[in-house]
Symmetry: C5
Subunit: 88 residues, 5 copies
């Protein structure tokens, strides 16, 4: 999983029918020191995250698990909202 | 998922039989600020996208979901056409 | 799999219900010469690793195997604690 | 999927038994402007490609689909030979 | 798949029980011209490879296939030992 900041959202009316009603958010991945790292991406949301929040998201096949039994063609999904993290 | 611009198409007559009738498009991924990022790739289309449109696509195992129950050996598929996106 | 150093942990109260009770650790991947390489990431722990330990972790679909039969949406999981490694 | 040029082949006698009789080719991925991009890799061939041809290949779990019902441990497979492509 | 040189091994006593008896080797991926490329990684071995040998390995979900029916949480497995390769 990676830490990320929610920085925006995407509106798409023509899309896979299975996506209806699922929020599409724009994420900026961040490193453990909170600096942005790597490319922005579009992720689904399974936990009610909003713009400005720090989250962690999962990539790949597992990104569709929160929506089972519907098989959503998701490759990135927010699975948690971060309260805080500590790097020792 | 990633945002991308559709920039071309691919013609291939010798290919996996399961690919027949599915459009093969060339994509240039873009970042949240609309700048091109990373490599061009070839993706299948499940939503009727055309050259010049902004789309979002899914990578990996999930790229084959829109074509189920046929098991298409796809690792990148356009799953939505973007109306607009907002970065706060 | 990749070698990594456990450098911290993440606290998240709003998350996928399947994650309850699983430790979320922050990893810094390292190369065979022990130098940090690439981005920090958040991983689940299946072997009782702690901050400061050297571990190896698995990415992708396989990261959810240690938690079966529960389908945890994990894409990175610590699967071993390294005693030592030798590069010839 | 990615475009690639077939630049060589690999001979391996000690390998997974499921690989017997499947060609192992060396690919150089190329961008939409035909320039080489990224690392060479080894891919299986499901369409009869030869050295010098331009192909597109699939990565990941889907790379094993062309060989079903045999579960081949493939993560890159050539699935089409390109006649031509157009970038607008 | 990628070509790699086996450069070492890893000893880990606390690990997933499914890993018992499977060798954990350190790999340096190499390009078609035999130069090292990218990061070292830890891979399982399904073909009896040893330090110093040139191999090819598979990443991702497919890395667990050689160990079926046991579901091993592997994301990189050596699946062949290279006799030689030719780049035209």
């Amino acid at each position: 999983m990676q830490l990320a900041k929610v920085i925006g959202d995407v509106v798409a009316t023509r899309k896979e029918p299975a996506f209806d009603g699922i929020a599409l958010l724009v994420l900026q991945p961040i490193a453990a020191d909170a600096r942005p790292v790597g490319r922005t991406l579009v992720a689904f949301d399974s936990v009610g995250a909003g713009v400005g929040e720090t989250v962690f998201f999962v990539r790949g096949r597992e990104a569709s698990f929160p929506f089972l039994p519907v098989e959503v063609a998701a490759d990135a999904t927010i699975v948690g909202i971060v309260d805080h993290w500590d790097v020792g």
